[in-house]
Symmetry: C2
Subunit: 459 residues, 2 copies
């Protein structure tokens, strides 16, 4: 009889694991069953803001592979609208509720992949059940929000709570749909994925497209009218709202894991080794937004929910389950975001992260351009580097620019990945041509400036 | 009495060296004299095609720092139109001809920087003195070409000889000016800076803007009418031409160096150590397009004339002359070019270079997109990787794409610089967001494909 692999969660991590396992093991060797609570498999959650905003016209464009594809081409028994409610490690079985048909399914496994993603952080005031309040974590969430925006009475005023990248992207999407948008952020700046001195550039671009930004403001409740949200209540007064979008970040979805006794780390995610095996639980694997991973710069465990990691981790788990060998060696916190006209990239540690991790460092910010200054279309680009002192090792980098800026972070990410010092980096052979860079690439200018800052510190 | 530094050549390398030396040593400690044959200092030769094509309207936009700036702000005695005709190492003096005023100058030096750049390769047929034939190595060359294009009778038909990146950029510039342009290339494809399988994409884009490409064709001579060029004669028949632009590459300008007995390496350039000291000649430094440098991947000496290297090398020489410490650790052959709508990037070794250097390798080519497939404006991007076998070490990479493609080569350049294997690269934490990349970045897809190719080879 074939072994059975059960996958809990049918998005990027789970379905990558399932399909990689299938590539290496045929159906007579391995039966694969995937339970997914929602209506979709393998979709781009990161694309939801663009669908809401209208840049991506059709929901199905966000779906990388439909359930039927997995059934037909990968021989994976995908069960949609099946919510796993318990994992019994002793009996090696899971219990799932059929949300559509009703009833309960029990299924035994030899191997289990836990890939249930993350859940939006919900403050108490958001749990009231008032209509018109939305997270945007899943495609089902996005569909509900879109329906609300298109139904009568048409929402006119939106409040986005939280200025992380999801909040910022959603604020822009809602402006694109013609709503009046206010973004409420508890901290000093929205776009807290970069340091405040860089985030201030982003805030200016957001205001430029008409987003009202309220910083240093805490949301304390909601008011409603006829069961629909009518305002967000803050410590600075009420903000009228016909729709509220939550961008307060997410936490690993570990309710099931915790109940089953899987180990959770300090970041709150499931603990795994670099082959994505759950620590100390033979035959059980985990991947994606529910796991904890190593930050290679700080050396600390972190929770970094991001589609690209989920895909890689799922693939690694699947290769290993299939009998191959693959590892996920951790992350360095690279992220890119488009905010209105602006491009934002970051990698490694922000100043606050570097402090928290105990590093001493210098940080420098330089202004340059994306192209040679004389070449048409040259736009400003700001580069920030954070380097350990006295070693000079790069700890983090941030880029904000108006064009062709975001993906420049990749060169810095690879430098960081390899433990380069800013001194080494001044010699890097980066691409130069007037349409693409000044003769001194902004990255090199930043590295030189960091070297000078280190020297000034050592005097 | 102050020591005297003489700099021969007033472009990027020479003036970087001079100004860095000045920053560290005052005028009472170091007198600095720079001889420049032409009319300009520190200009962007790489920008000449865009000035010719009209994208950059004014010549002076290409000048980073004018001679008067060096005189006023750096206390450097810049002598334009002074051609150094001899270096006497025994007497430690140079002889310069005053091209404007006439006469000869002799000047002693304690320290010498040789930074005379490169000269275009001129086949015999181009030496005839027929009017209307131009190289585009210096701003003076560019000015002469532009004058020719604007004088009566207006040239209508252009032939560009040589399909390296200068030839390709010039062909596009001449099309932008409204000329009928034919590019003649001896090899199988223009854009030989990348392998033929990538260059074919570039050739298609060039044809798309109306450039006629004649490959496998050798130029053998010129015909003239009233002293003006009238056609280029090839082994495949004549090509009518009112103007001919040479893009046959350049060689290090070493006539003076050779006469003075400076050591030349196998690539033809002046041999220097990593502090940019001429090997075995105390007090003499060299930098820029006239020197030979280490290719860090092949381990072989190469001649790579490029403004970004010239600036770095000049800076290194100047810091060392100034009493500091800096090194130039070599190049890895990174280059980016805009060709019509297309963006081209390369780093490391092409297949032919890898063969020549004695490597065994696999090469893979993958197709992806610059953005998530569903995001508006997603365009194709082709990535090629060359990896040593069996080690998997990256040897080279090439990217051709329609948008936001060229500078992606930097991430690969940094990976190559650090000696990464393609297996290591599959785990790289690169920036992901739908406007900037598919969830599997093209670089990661290429690395995975290369891993598979290596595995297939080892079976």
């Amino acid at each position: 009889m074939a072994e059975r692999l059960i996958v809990i969660g049918g998005d990027a991590a789970g379905m990558s694991a399932a399909s990689q396992a299938r590539r290496r093991r045929g159906r007579n060797d391995l039966e694969i069953v995937a339970f997914e609570r929602g209506h979709f498999t393998s979709y781009s959650a990161c694309g939801i803001p663009y669908w809401i905003g209208g840049l991506v016209p059709e929901r199905d464009q966000l779906i990388a592979r439909a359930p039927q594809t997995f059934r037909d081409e990968y021989d994976i028994d995908v069960r949609l609208q099946h919510e796993v409610t318990a994992i019994d490690l002793g009996r090696r079985e899971v219990v799932a509720r059929d949300l559509a048909g009703g009833g309960e399914v029990r299924a035994g496994f030899d191997t289990l992949v836990y890939a249930v993603g993350a859940t939006p952080r919900l403050p108490d005031w958001a749990r009231s059940g008032v209509a018109g309040v939305f997270g945007v974590q899943t495609l089902d969430d996005g569909a509900a929000l879109r329906d609300w925006l298109e139904a009568e009475p048409r929402p006119r005023r939106a409040v986005v709570v939280g200025g992380g990248y999801i909040g910022v992207e959603m604020a822009e999407a809602l402006v694109q749909r013609g709503l009046d948008v206010t973004l409420v952020e508890r901290g000093e700046q929205p776009m807290s994925t970069v340091d405040d001195d860089m985030a201030v550039l982003v805030a200016a671009a957001m205001r430029g497209v008409g987003i009202e930004i309220r910083t240093g403001v805490e949301v304390t409740g909601l008011t409603e009218q006829d069961g629909r949200v009518s305002a967000v209540v803050t410590d600075d007064g009420p903000l009228p709202a016909d729709v509220v979008v939550l961008g307060l970040g997410v936490r690993p979805n570990t309710a099931l894991a915790e109940a089953a006794g899987l180990p959770l780390g300090p970041s709150g995610g499931v603990q795994v080794d670099r082959r994505m095996r759950v620590l100390g639980v033979p035959g059980v694997w985990a991947a994606g937004d529910c796991v904890e991973t190593l930050h290679r710069v700080s050396g600390l465990p972190v929770h970094v929910p991001l589609g690209t990691h989920a895909n890689k981790q799922g693939r690694v788990a699947g290769i290993n389950i299939g009998g191959g060998y693959a590892t996920f060696p951790g992350v360095i916190g690279t992220a890119v975001t488009k905010v209105c006209e602006l491009e934002v990239g970051r990698t490694g540690l922000r100043e606050r992260d570097a402090h928290a991790a105990g590093f001493e460092f210098v940080s420098v910010v330089i202004e340059s351009t994306n192209r040679a200054g004389y070449y048409p279309g040259a736009r400003p680009m700001t580069v920030k580097l954070i380097a350990e002192r006295p070693s000079g090792r790069l700890l983090g980098a941030q880029i904000v620019g108006w064009s062709e800026a975001a993906k420049r972070i990749d060169a810095l990410a690879v430098a960081l990945w390899n433990g380069m010092t800013v001194d080494d980096m001044t010699a890097l052979d980066l691409g130069y041509a007037p349409p693409y860079a000044p003769v001194w690439d902004p990255v090199l200018v930043a590295a030189r400036t960091a070297v000078d800052a280190l020297a000034a510190h050592s005097r």
